[in-house]
């Protein structure tokens, strides 16, 4: 944190993190740790689906208690220095991916289609409990909440996502995903949907119809053209009245400033050095719309 120069609306924050499958780990899927991420064992077998019973969040288990410990420690360390975010939580179908495995969950869409929507809803109380506990801890000294997305909100905001949606049709998205997603949106004060990759774009129109969804974080993905090459997608989001967050390169910024309205738009830019960061901010300020 002390090695990072923050410009514009960037702010110092830390979120305790055990990886994207942490939520599934709290339902009995042990984690394996890599250099920069972790992953869960796929512990739900076919028999568990065939004889399905709603799972219980293990709030007394190692992973849940470890996250409480990490968040408490961060809150004490951060006081008056930086913000503490709620950890990375993936409920819904992404938790089912972590518990079943991506290939098996794809098979489940055909073999046990009712299971996915039902199990996703059964995981919802666990998400609500986890979020409530971590939000309460993180707001011990700070006002409002933040997450890995680097956006601050004065109330209870969190990311919604479904990376599994790349693997399913719009009809399946409607039948298996939307009920739980809408329930998450009802629970939160605000949310941005993490739309990850061109394979997820087939669901964008439906997402833009959700009244309680505030906006879309568009992730075009590694190896894809950068933000300035996705103006059609970004304009569609903006014209639907939703907020945008997108990673951009320094070279993208002039194109984006020229082609998108500023309202509800946020760009994440990783500059190579402090001078470039300052130059980018000046560029945006020079492009600033004159307000009367």
């Amino acid at each position: 944190m002390q090695n990072t120069y923050f410009a514009g609306e960037a702010y110092a924050m830390y979120f305790p993190n055990l990886g994207p499958d942490f939520f599934a780990a709290c339902y009995g899927a042990p984690l394996t740790y890599g250099e920069t991420t972790s992953w869960s064992a796929h512990v739900w077998r076919d028999e568990d689906v065939q004889n399905y019973t709603p799972p219980a969040l293990d709030t007394q288990g190692f992973y849940y208690q470890k996250m409480l410990e990490m968040t408490r420690a961060a809150v004490q360390d951060a006081r008056d220095k930086y913000l503490v975010g709620v950890t990375d939580i993936h409920p819904g179908a992404d938790a089912l991916v972590a518990l079943r495995g991506p290939q098996q969950l794809c098979m489940d869409t055909v073999d046990y289609p009712d299971f996915i929507a039902r199990a996703a809803m059964d995981l919802l109380p666990g998400f609500q409990r986890m979020f409530d506990d971590l939000f309460a801890l993180s707001t011990t000294y700070q006002q409002g909440s933040t997450t890995w997305m680097g956006i601050w909100h004065p109330g209870r905001w969190y990311v919604t996502s479904c990376d599994f949606c790349c693997m399913i049709s719009p009809a399946m998205f409607e039948d298996m995903i939307l009920e739980e997603l809408n329930a998450e949106l009802d629970f939160l004060d605000a949310s941005m949907f993490h739309l990850d990759g061109p394979g997820a774009l087939k669901h964008l129109d439906r997402l833009l119809e959700l009244p309680k969804l505030k906006g879309i974080q568009w992730v075009y993905g590694d190896g894809q053209p950068t933000a300035a090459h996705w103006l059609d997608v970004l304009r569609k989001i903006q014209n639907a009245g939703k907020m945008i967050q997108v990673n951009a390169t320094p070279e993208d910024l002039p194109v984006l400033l020229e082609n998108l309205k500023p309202e509800g738009v946020m760009y994440n830019i990783y500059a190579p050095d402090e001078d470039t960061a300052r130059r980018l901010l000046h560029l945006a300020d020079a492009h600033r719309k004159i307000l009367y």
Partner: protein
């Protein structure tokens, strides 16, 4: 905040962002490596799991 001198202003900008009322320019989350960097503590953990679960190390 020690690492964010103008938090009052920045928090107001986020309120405008959520309301889609940041009419002047987009919200910019710009980060860059500091010109003068301080060395971070080296990991002496025997395994990656120990490193991930070392709360104090993660904070440092």
């Amino acid at each position: 905040m020690r690492y964010c001198e103008n938090w009052e202003h920045i928090s107001q900008r986020y309120l405008a962002y959520w309301a889609r009322e940041n009419h002047d320019r987009p919200i910019l989350n710009i980060r860059a490596p500091r010109d003068k960097r301080v060395p971070l503590p080296a990991s002496h953990h025997a395994t990656l799991e120990q490193r991930w679960l070392d709360t104090q190390y993660q904070l440092d």
